[in-house]
Amino acid sequence: MSAAGHAGAHAASGVHEPVFVAAVLAKLEALFPKYPTKQACLLPALWMVQEARGWISPQAMAEVGEVLGLTPAYVRGVVSFYTMYYQHPMGRHVVQVCTTSPCHLCGSSDVLKALLEATQCGELGATSPDGRFTVIEVECLGACGFATPVMIGNDFHDSVAPDRVPELLRGYA
């Protein structure tokens, strides 16, 4: 990830607004009976943080640890293992493009290039100057028969060709 991706309006401030209050806390607590350990709720809890904040700050990791009875260092160790958990602020819409062999064979390099240009991100991992997008490469989206698959936020778009890119992005403010 480039330094440019870390800058901008989302920069970590010193104050951490707790995520696990009210409805979000209730949602997490509803999961506890489904697993024999609270630790097993760590991945779901991290998803809740990311859905609320767009990324997982060190303070949020400490909060998750507190709720689940885990140390902040342990939580960080888990967060850093999984590529979908973002440890720094991202654009409002994270664009994931598959560039692994099956998609590469079908021209995903051109799709990636078109996305980097149209979003004005310029390079992988960087956030666009308007804060809208961050484009990242992803290792296989499990949709190789629909090359090139692109995920924007939680939305899945299949069979994306370079000329479809500008229209595709228009739906994301």
């Binding site: 489904k34 888990v78 293992f81 099956p102 290792e139 190789c144 028969g145």
Partner: protein, 435 residues
């Protein structure tokens, strides 16, 4: 069917019959299509009888290893007083493979039914379905289907009035290929880094949360209701070649091919026909160069090997590769084998959990060496170095990720050496630029 293509007359549609048929996603729609008959039937059988039926059917694991499913279920201890778990591996991340995605998108209740039968058969009250984080749409569809199945009484404290508790819990991954490895998946589900565990103990002894656990692939579990409905003899009869490979199988065909998609054929179907007939063959003016058949983790097959192979576990081994998860990555004569091998090595380097030295270092260094070859800076001893590293990456680690990285490298050099030599001699212009 070869979704998004209509069914081909040479397909044997069992699992894929309702791909593209959106009303099949609902509980009512699934009932109309004969759904949940098998679960009701199973709940009236003894667990042993279900396991025997599966053993007799010849069903083998569809995730890659091809282990007999009934036998795997029979390894679970009996009357041990411990909680048992069934885990469904829906972490489909093997490059080239996209069949489980379609099963979950179109026939979520087939999977739920298979999971419920499996849970009952192995004495588990809980089944976790671990779905890869990127599968947002399959997760949404599965979530709705599970809710409906609870509401209809198929799941819950008293499944279909049987007195048996069967819970299905969906668990979302977060982007890690290695979590498709069964022991890594269990660690991930427990809220840990997805590091594979040393075996033994095997999951049936000490698996998820230390308890007896069975892990099956989506496609394996989705086949179970069909076997109970139509009988093991029917399933066993679906066989065109080796009697050890029975039933139908979804083959994901992708890469440089006219009609990429999932094709369901009977085990033993000729690969030549699958590629050139069902999947529409090569693009105009192109010829077949190679196929990586098992997802990316297996040796590359040359055109001759691929066109002579039968699509089952034994048929592909006979031609020097492995069936794996049956994601066929097709390369035509325009493909650069060196680049594709490099891209796969880069994939494995990214996905290595880095526990084992051979894998952590091996995947990283093979990627760097391949990169330098593509930049036109390769040295004559590089191929020997790649083979030497690959040898140390094979059979030496906790899991097979490192072996999977080595397989395309070793076979790529053995079978397409001329393409590597062309970069080394300068006959071919560098493909990558910069450092």
């Amino acid at each position: 069917m070869g979704y998004p293509h209509p069914s081909h007359p040479r397909e044997t549609v069992v699992l894929s019959r309702h791909f593209g048929d959106a009303p099949a996603r609902t509980y009512a729609g699934w009932i109309e299509r004969g759904g949940y008959v098998a679960l009701r039937k199973a709940l009236g059988m003894t667990p042993d009888a279900i396991i025997e039926e599966l053993k007799a059917s010849g069903l083998r694991g569809r995730g890659g290893a091809g282990f007999p499913t009934g036998l795997k279920w029979s390894f679970m201890p009996k009357n041990d007083g411990k909680p048992h778990y069934l885990v469904c591996n829906a972490d489909e991340s093997e490059p080239g493979t996209f069949k489980d995605r379609e099963i979950m998108r179109w026939t979520p209740h087939a999977l739920i039914e298979g999971c419920a039968i499996g849970a009952y058969a192995i004495g588990a009250e809980t089944c976790y379905i671990y779905i890869r984080g990127e599968f947002t749409e399959p997760l949404r569809i599965m979530t709705a289907a599970v809710e409906e199945a609870y509401a209809a009484g198929a799941l819950g404290a008293n499944a279909f009035g049987s007195g048996k508790r069967i819970d299905i819990i969906l668990h979302r991954g977060a982007g890690a290929y290695i979590c498709g490895e069964e022991t890594a998946l269990m660690n991930s589900l427990e809220g840990k880094r997805g590091n594979p565990r040393i075996k033994p103990p095997f999951p049936a002894q000490a698996g998820l949360f230390g308890m007896p656990t069975t892990i099956n692939n989506v496609e394996t579990l989705a086949a179970v209701p069909h076997i109970l409905n139509q009988g093991c003899e029917w399933y066993k009869g679906l066989c065109l070649s080796n009697p050890k490979s029975t039933g139908t199988k979804l083959f994901s065909v992708c890469g440089q091919i006219q009609k990429p998609g999932n094709y369901e054929v009977t085990m033993g179907f000729p690969m030549k026909d699958l590629i050139h007939d069902l999947a529409g063959g090569m693009r105009p003016g192109r010829t077949l160069k190679a196929v990586i058949p098992g997802g990316s983790s297996v040796p590359i097959m040359t055109r001759d090997e691929a066109e002579g192979a039968l699509c089952d576990y034994e048929g592909i081994i006979e031609k020097g590769s492995m069936l794996g998860s049956a994601g066929f990555i097709v390369l035509d004569d325009s493909a650069d084998v060196v680049y594709e091998v490099y891209r796969l090595a880069k994939f494995y380097a990214h996905e290595s959990c880095a526990q084992c030295t051979q894998c952590r270092e091996g995947t990283a260094w093979t990627t760097k060496i391949l990169e330098r070859i593509l930049r036109g800076e390769g040295q004559t001893e590089d191929l020997g170095l790649l083979l030497d590293l690959s040898e140390n990456m094979t059979g030496k680690t906790i899991c097979v990720l490192s072996d999977s990285c080595a397989a395309p490298i070793v076979s790529g050099i053995a079978k397409f050496r001329g393409e590597f030599d062309a970069y080394l001699s300068g006959a071919r212009q560098p493909t990558l630029v910069g450092a």
